[in-house]
């Protein structure tokens, strides 16, 4: 993986993500105050960015319609949005490696059935399925993670299936099987570890997509529920005050885009780094 950092895109992407993640983790240090309680609603609402309220508190990104500091909510909302993104992708990776791994390892109808399942799930418009799920079950942060995870595993399954097919023709797999190891143990111990790097690339892109999808669900009121701030429900609530306080909706959208750009650049950089390594080896 060390060759990755020679790629400028990977460096820029990782730096963008690192800054956002570090800020979210250090939320209590970089903000002052609670995300849900304003000091004085009437005096401190709809303050523009870079302004002071009556109590002398500084508002870097202004305040919303009930006087809450947008910067504070942005940073704490980042914790939720990033956690939703990363956890749902971890779930997608588990399901995707399981389905794709078995589809690539097995032969005959079980493999065909798993491939068909993947193709089918890939053809569904993700948002339609997500809307359906989120509207039918009462949305909560945990369910949103579950739904995003269960609708994002297909690209990983496809990739892992191809990788497992290729890897299983290698002599080290034959060797492990010949030495008496059980079939699924060989898959787990010898084949899966070799698929992890390309999976990481797809997962990096998946994190950005998952955060975008959560924001979309929140936009329809079906994502992470208020008063817990997430970038999505911040944009949704900023929609109502677009006329007199456009910064409420603008700020979370910009950070969201920065995170997605970071994920894309990191993924692109990793991919071409892997390509280089493979072309050197092969």
């Amino acid at each position: 993986m060390s060759g990755v950092w020679r790629d400028r895109r990977a460096r820029v992407g990782a730096a963008l993500l690192a800054v956002v993640i570090a800020t979210a983790v250090a939320a209590p240090l970089v903000t002052a105050g609670d995300t849900s309680v304003p000091r004085d609603i009437v005096a401190s609402r709809f303050l523009g960015p870079l302004s002071y309220d009556v109590s002398g508190a500084f508002h870097l990104l202004g305040t919303d319609r009930i006087g809450r500091d947008v910067w504070t909510r942005l940073v704490y909302g980042g914790r939720i949005s990033l956690a939703v993104g990363f956890l749902s992708v971890i779930l997608s990776v588990i399901v995707g490696m399981l389905v794709g791994g078995l589809a690539g390892w097995w032969r005959g109808w079980p493999a065909l059935a798993l491939t068909a399942l993947t193709d089918f799930a890939l053809a569904l418009p993700r948002v339609v399925v997500l809307l359906l799920l989120a509207a039918l079950w009462k949305p909560s942060t945990a369910l949103v993670i579950l739904f995003l995870g269960m609708t994002g595993w297909m690209p990983i399954a496809r990739l892992v299936q191809g990788e497992v097919r290729t890897l299983s023709a290698n002599s080290f797999v034959e060797g492990a099987t010949a030495s008496g190891a059980r079939s699924l143990w060989v898959l787990w111990r010898h084949v899966f570890p070799n698929t992890l790097t390309p999976v990481f690339v797809v997962a990096a892109l998946g994190v950005g997509n998952a955060i975008l999808a959560e924001a979309g669900l929140s936009f329809f009121g079906l994502g992470v529920q208020s008063p817990t701030p997430s970038w999505g429900n911040m944009i949704a609530s900023g929609r109502d005050t677009l006329v007199n306080a456009p910064w409420v909706a603008a700020a979370p959208g910009v950070v969201l885009a920065v995170v997605v750009v970071g994920c894309t650049l990191l993924g692109d950089g990793l991919r071409s780094a892997i390509g280089r390594r493979q072309s050197v080896v092969g």
Binding site: D119, F120, A123, L124, P125, R126, V127, V128, L131, L132, L133, A135, L136, W137, K138, G208, L212, A215, G216, F219, F220, G221, I235, G238, R239, L242, V243, P246, A249, A250, P252, G253, L256, A257, V258, V260, V261, T264, L265
Partner: protein, 324 residues
């Protein structure tokens, strides 16, 4: 040809699968449409009667069989919430969605083609890097957020363009020309939102496949023949890159449709996406089923058209198909 038939059959299987999945999900989820329809004051007897009227008291398999049979024969039922026939609701909705999608596809690929070709011709230059940063950022923007920002600027700040619906309240009283202008003004922001995001994706794909094509031996030959860089790029490299571009266009349709759902939500555009969102929120079973089916059909049909398109633009696929 056999490939296309195979694809069409797979598409039908996907639509059938979507319908089955939707049916199962709707009935597995908590919540009772009869209770939603009759309100909290309904007595148990009224609820039972309501469920009977909606056919919800019969075995699931019977409900499914009847629904599927009716759907195939064009009987899509009536909306539980509005009381209107589902077919009428969707018949007015789907052309609005298709119009928006087709126009934005056309525009994004036209602009993306120019940008991508420009970048590929000057790969590695500062301009290429700047455009790459721009296209990556465009793809990363949440569609509904971009829509809101365009509304904030063009509707609230500059007071130039309308932000809601497909026509003004006075549209019925305008002449043909006036109605066209009114429609175009309403189309502008939703179309711009979808197109801006689409341009990012299209330019990235076109740049990538052009750069791949430029490494091919026939490009070296074309250069050796003394052709100009522009002719090599357009006449040789672009031609060969059309296949991956058209294929990716088909694959990007589900994502595009997802984008449409949000854009229709932001701009109150009267399309399938908005019907679907409203029906999902109100748990309007017949409308949800039909709108899901229509969206799956649109995506599958789009993929099929892209497959046919790939055969049309790449003569090699054609000879392989007919030369069997």
């Amino acid at each position: 040809m056999r490939m296309l038939v195979h694809r069409a059959l797979t598409g039908i299987a996907v639509v059938a699968g979507v319908l089955t999945l939707t049916f199962i999900l709707l009935h597995a989820a908590p919540g009772d449409p009869a209770a939603l329809l009759l309100g909290p004051a309904a007595s148990p007897a009224q609820l039972a009667a309501g469920r009977h009227r909606l056919g919800l008291d019969r075995p699931l398999s019977a409900q499914y069989a009847e629904w599927l049979g009716g759907f195939a024969r064009g009987r899509w039922g009536t909306s539980i919430v509005t009381g209107r026939p589902v077919r009428d609701m969707l018949a007015t909705a789907w052309p609005a969605t298709v119009r928006l999608v087709l126009l934005s596809l056309l525009l994004s690929y036209a602009i993306g083609l120019v940008l991508g070709a420009w970048q590929a011709a000057r790969a590695g230059s500062r301009l290429d890097t700047a455009l790459s940063v721009a296209t990556v950022s465009l793809v990363a923007l949440p569609g509904f957020w971009l829509g809101l920002m365009l509304v904030a600027v063009f509707t609230y700040l500059l007071r130039l363009l309308p932000a809601f619906g497909a026509a003004g309240f006075d549209a019925d009283f305008l002449g043909t020309w006036g109605r066209f202008i009114d429609g175009a003004r309403h189309l502008a922001l939703p179309l711009a939102t979808l197109t801006l995001i689409g341009v990012g994706g299209a330019a990235r794909v076109i740049r990538g496949s052009l750069l791949d094509a430029l490494e091919q031996p026939f490009v070296v030959t074309a250069h050796a023949k003394g052709l100009s860089d522009a002719r090599v790029l357009v006449g040789h490299a672009l031609r060969i890159s059309m296949t991956p571009i058209v294929t990716l266009l088909g694959l990007s349709l589900p994502a595009l449709f997802s984008g449409v759902v949000f854009v229709e939500g932001v701009f109150a555009w009267p399309g399938v996406g908005r019907v679907l969102v409203e029906a999902v929120q109100a748990r309007d079973y017949p409308v949800v089923m039909a709108a899901t089916a229509i969206s799956a059909l649109l995506v599958v049909a789009g993929n099929l058209i892209a497959d046919i398109g790939a055969v049309v633009v790449d003569p090699r696929l054609r000879t392989r198909v007919s030369g069997r």
